[in-house]
């Protein structure tokens, strides 16, 4: 088991290395660097000036060397400005003496670099944003998983029944509606004082002006309430819920057809006992993997939902970093994404072993 985990961590490190290199390669393509030079410096720069700007700001060397600097295995660049005589370097704070600065400052040293748009260290940005997204994901999971399992189990208990058809229709509809559609529909229906449900409620006197829910989750960054967080959470949860429910239903239906369930029924065991005591554990093995695999999908979802609802977490930061060509912030976001995906995969593999004794690791 320990060997398995070690091997998976090794694979994870290798994958992270490859993926960040791909992102690094793409963000450092010549046109992207030229765009960066022109936005940070001056748009009228000639090609020669672009090259000299890139060189002066540490984007000049070979790609692999710069990737090494970012990783922290190659010493950070250091050069004296020919005009002002000031030392500039990757590891140098402004005005710092080069003799005092660290030689290496990359990912391995815990230095994520500098965000050009926000004019601050990436590490000081990304922690708070991840925390915000963590809160959003927690609530999305807290809503999504129990309700999806409930719907799936209810639907799978008696395949083909009226309950099954109704719940299946609902799950298919919810999983077929992407977040950017359901989010907008939610806002229109529940978070507008002009149309949808809120004006009706005000008219009936059940609501004192304003809207039922909030169409902007910015205030949730300061404190989560039922009213400001329901819509973003529901938008994410609904999409994943239909999918997990469908998987649970299929798994449940299969288990309910198994020989041992038939035997139990012939013995006269109560239907509720069959479901609770015999079927459920076996039926939940497949959904567990699916739930774990929902994490990467959820990262997709938060990008859309955070932008739509103005909730400034990880997804919003990723969009801003990409649209503003903020290379080091984007790389840090990729690292985090890779980490989340691979860790959840690992958890899913390990959890699977505990749930299903037939699977042996190593």
């Amino acid at each position: 088991m320990a060997f398995f985990i070690l091997r998976r961590i090794g694979v994870m490190a290798l994958t992270a290395l490859c993926l960040t290199f791909v992102v690094f390669f793409l963000t450092n393509l010549a046109p992207n660097l030229e765009k960066l030079a022109k936005t940070q410096g001056n748009a009228r720069m000639s090609d020669a000036e672009v090259v000299s700007w890139l060189d002066r700001n540490g984007y000049g060397g070979p790609l692999v060397v710069r990737y090494g600097e970012w990783l922290g295995v190659v010493p950070g660049w250091l050069r004296e400005d020919p005009i002002t005589g000031e030392w500039r370097g990757r590891c140098l704070a402004r005005g710092q003496d080069p003799a005092e600065a660290a030689r290496f400052c990359g990912l391995l040293q815990g230095d994520l670099g500098y965000s050009t748009v926000s004019a601050t260290e990436v590490s000081s940005i990304i922690g708070g944003r991840l925390q915000l997204t963590g809160i959003l994901m927690f609530w999305a999971f807290a809503v999504m998983v129990p309700s999806a399992l409930l719907v799936g189990v209810l639907a799978g208990m008696r395949e083909g029944s009226r309950t099954d058809r109704t719940l299946s229709t609902f799950s298919i509809a919810s999983t077929a509606t992407p977040e950017y559609v359901s989010g907008v529909i939610f806002i229109v229906l529940l978070a507008s004082s002009q149309i949808g449900i809120s004006p009706l409620l005000v008219e009936w006197g059940w609501l004192e002006g304003g809207t039922l829910f909030f169409g902007s989750a910015r205030s949730a960054m300061d404190g989560v309430t039922f009213w400001n967080f329901t819509l973003p959470v529901m938008t994410i949860a609904l999409y994943g819920m239909g999918y997990i429910a469908r998987m649970t239903r299929a798994s449940m239906a299969e288990v309910m057809m198994a020989q041992y369930i038939r035997t139990a029924r012939l013995k006269g065991v109560k239907f509720s006992n069959i479901v609770m005591k015999h079927a459920l554990r076996n039926a939940l093995i497949a959904p567990f993997t699916v739930i774990m695999l929902q994490f990467p999908w959820l990262l997709n979802g938060v990008v859309i939902v955070e932008t739509l609802f103005n909730y400034k977490g990880f997804g919003w930061t990723l969009v801003q970093a990409a649209s503003n060509n903020d290379i080091e912030l984007l790389l840090a976001c990729s690292i985090v994404a890779v980490f989340v995906v691979l860790v959840t995969q690992l958890m899913s593999d390990i959890g699977y072993v505990f749930l299903n004794p037939r699977i042996r690791i190593s």
Partner: protein, 545 residues
């Protein structure tokens, strides 16, 4: 805020001349107030010269305490004299204050100055500092601070220092620094500014948002880095693109009145639909500005509306350093193809008046009426073909927001109607703003300025920091110098007519409309009225008792 009227001049020879002009109908009331208060008269004295009781908007006194949240973009702060967006001034105004403040009704009043006077030909200004003002680090605010700031404003070697253009003749063209003897410290509370030629724009220049007064030892720094200022507030949090938080500084005794305990600036992006969703969700109490169709929507949900007519606009300008815009015929063809009334209608719901492709607005005192420009799409295409650019592809860059995006879309559509090939490029906020001066063909929002010559000095004189059109014309520059020295509105108008005509003939830029500006706030917010220059002074703001 306590405004001491006794420290102002009771009258001034030039102001009396303006009063005569006002009475004969040669000056508008706004223009009269702008010019006479710029000479050092108090608003009350100015009103009395023209026989009116001071009907100026007296600020209400709000209750003490409370928190106010304002929707506004949060950009990375920097050295104030290099500020290029009024949002930067607004967010730091609670900490670093200004000498003079421009009011909604067109008057100027002192903030860190108690009063100021100009001599008869406006070549010498005497600035009298407000006594008893201290920095929040305990130092006294003295004439040395003011002199150091003036010297810093005149430093043309600082990249992006737009104050140098506002200081005009005070800058020595040879050294690129303040003129010797230009800034004289008379005593601890008096500074004298000596100009080589009459300049009527010095006072408006001191009231503009890059003119924040920094501590004499901290010039050239970002106020966020040290938090030293004269204002009543201090930063507790600042996150670019997200929010900025200021609280009343308990360790500092502020010279005036400040009402709110806490002010939070909230950045909801550049999409006005997101602002509206935020308003409905109770995310903030006041907008920085409200644009387009959202003006009616905010009113419909019960927010109070405040509007002001201004010389603010969006210029859709080619940059003459980039081909094919270096060819005047190409620029003329573009101007000829665009019907400005359509741009007004589509770009901003008709909330303004039609422009004339020169940057002097009818509400400016020296505005001269010119014959209307002809729109002829067929002639435009013929002109373009004659210039040899019939198949040119014009890429029009704009910010991803409501106003400039729709305006550019309308301009692009008009150009396509005339048979031109136009590509639209829409950039996100931070990227666009990093480089607004240099795009070959793009749109820029310009704020209102008090006098017509001011914008010409800032943006169209050869080689100045904000010359985004790269327009360089010796005749234009010398006429502008001439106009800067003419105090009489009618005499100046003759020169202005020629300046305006040069802008049209050289097809410098499209100036499609003059905007009315709107702001909305929740009922109960006090002194939040829209300002012609988007200014928000958090010291004045408050909540009703």
């Amino acid at each position: 805020m306590t405004t001491t009227t006794t420290a102002h001049l009771a009258t001034h020879p030039a102001a009396e001349m303006y009063a005569r002009e006002y009475k004969t109908g040669q000056l508008s009331r706004r223009e009269f107030l702008v010019r006479s208060t710029a000479l050092g008269l108090s608003a009350a004295a100015a009103y009395s010269l023209i026989g009116l009781s001071p009907a100026m908007a007296q600020r209400a006194t709000p209750a003490k305490g409370g928190t106010l949240r304002i929707q506004m973009g949060i950009l990375a702060l920097k050295d104030p004299r290099t500020y290029d967006w009024s949002e930067m001034g607004n967010v730091s105004r609670g900490l670093v204050e200004y000498l003079i403040e421009y009011n909604r009704d067109g008057t100027f009043s002192g903030v860190l100055l108690e009063g100021w006077e100009a001599n008869a030909d406006a070549t010498q200004y005497t600035l009298r500092l407000r006594p008893g003002v201290t920095w929040n680090n305990g130092d006294a605010f003295t004439a040395a601070d003011v002199a150091a700031n003036f010297a810093a404003w005149c430093d043309t070697t600082v990249e992006g220092n737009s104050m140098a253009a506002r200081m005009g003749g005070l800058v020595d063209a040879d050294t690129g620094q303040a003129r010797a003897g230009g800034i004289v410290v008379v005593d601890d509370l008096t500074v004298q500014i000596n100009l080589p030629a009459p300049d009527i724009t010095l006072v408006p220049g001191m009231a503009d948002y890059p003119a924040a007064i920094m501590h004499r030892d901290l010039i050239g720094t970002n106020p966020l880095d040290h938090g030293v200022g004269t204002g009543a507030y201090r930063f507790t949090d600042y996150q670019v693109g997200i929010s900025a938080r200021l609280e009343r500084n308990p360790d500092h005794s502020y010279w005036g009145d400040a009402y709110l305990d806490e002010v939070v600036f909230v950045d909801l992006g550049t999409d006005p639909a997101a602002w509206f969703a935020g308003a409905e969700a109770g995310e903030f109490d006041m907008t920085y500005q409200t644009v387009g169709e959202f003006v009616d929507l905010f009113s419909a949900v019960g927010w109070d509306r405040s509007d002001v007519t201004t010389g603010a606009t969006v210029v859709v300008r080619p940059n003459q350093l980039n081909a094919p815009y270096d060819n005047v015929e190409v620029r003329r063809a573009i101007l000829e193809a665009v019907d400005l009334s359509v741009v007004l209608e589509l770009g901003m719901n008709g909330q303004g008046t039609v422009g004339e492709n020169h940057h002097v607005c009818p509400i400016h005192p020296e505005y001269a009426e010119l014959p209307p420009m002809v729109v002829d799409k067929a002639a435009a295409q013929a002109r373009l073909a004659a210039a040899g650019h019939a198949d040119a592809n014009f890429t029009l860059v704009s910010l991803d927001d409501g106003l400039t995006r729709f305006t550019c879309d309308a301009v692009a559509a008009q150009m396509r109607d005339a048979g031109m090939t136009v590509t639209r490029e829409v950039l996100p906020g931070s990227t666009f703003w990093n480089d607004w001066l240099n795009y070959p063909f793009s749109a820029t929002e310009w704020n209102h300025r008090e006098l017509g010559v001011q914008i010409l000095n800032l943006a169209y004189r050869s080689g100045v920091a904000w010359n985004e059109t790269a327009f360089a014309n010796a005749e234009f520059d010398s006429l502008l110098d001439q106009a800067n020295g003419i105090q009489d509105a009618n005499a100046r108008r003759e020169v202005m007519a020629r300046l305006q005509r040069i802008m049209q003939e050289e097809a410098v830029t499209i100036v499609p409309y003059w905007r009315s500006l709107f702001r909305h706030y929740r009922p109960g917010v006090v002194n939040a009225d829209m300002h012609p220059k988007f200014e928000i002074n958090i010291h004045h703001l408050g909540l009703s008792a």
